[in-house]
Symmetry: C2
Subunit: 132 residues, 2 copies
DNA sequence: TGTAGTGTACTATTAGTATTAATACACTAT
DNA sequence: ATAGTGTATTAATACTAATAGTACACTACA
């Protein structure tokens, strides 16, 4: 369901958050769909339930999922991302770091744009037919 | 010289590393040029010298700079980045996370590609005339 | 030779985060 | 009632980031 790399420097809960968001964009998870429970997901990923809970809480904070007491956690049917300046700057910083790394790895401009374009298409691949 | 955001979740030494690499790509720092000494840079950024030292050490590990005992730290004149699979995968993960964030912020494909293209051009702006 | 300016190494301390662990409670469905 | 949910809390361990202070080695240069 989600690939967890315990050797990564990215915290496990953050990997879950990223993986879920990526899966939703790819259409692997459908709006309204129920997520595995905290305990169930923890078993699947052989993690502590608290780690999964932290991820779910962060996903809810970002309005990506909605949790209902006693029922479970569900993919949000609608979410309206707020494009505030802080988030935009943070996004640019993230991209800048990645771009710098890529240029240092030997990518030239065209290759870099091609890489990103490929990743973007891969990301929205399964949703491209929908009208939403 | 380098913008340090002490409130950022990115460690200060990492901000220095990123900022230096970005500055080199932009041509603000020229190959062979001497960097401010550890103590000097620490004063400028009002940081502990050890933090700067950690950044310089990481930059040297990445072959971005060369240090000579008793003389100082210098921008590498030549560096040959190694494009191994691990680094490539790490790069892709970084881009994927940024792309997911961007899509969640409301960017569509075209806007996203445009954003990245803009950042790439901004990055290599000052070097674009050179032949190297 | 001596002095100042370099990088380097080491230890210690403080603070924060990530993860695991265990427990308890509230709510929902049946 | 009972099982399955999410939630909250506390504790412990480990790791990292940053600061602080000290000492040492090397280089340049007068």
């Amino acid at each position: 369901m989600i690939d967890i790399d315990v050797t990564s420097s990215t915290p496990i809960y953050a990997q879950i958050v990223n993986g879920m968001k990526e899966g939703i964009l790819k259409g692997i998870f459908q709006p309204g769909e129920k997520l595995p429970s905290v305990r169930e997901m923890a078993k699947m990923l052989t993690l502590n339930p608290n780690t999964v809970q932290k991820a779910y809480k962060e996903l809810e904070r970002q309005k990506v999922v909605v949790t209902i007491q006693g029922r479970g956690t569900f993919i949000s049917k609608e979410y309206q991302p707020k494009m505030d300046e802080d988030k935009l700057n943070e996004l640019k910083e993230t991209f800048k770091k990645a771009i710098v790394d890529a240029l240092y790895l030997g990518f030239d401009k065209e290759e870099l744009i091609a890489l990103v374009t490929g990743l973007v298409n891969e990301m929205e691949g399964l949703n491209s037919d929908d009208k939403n």
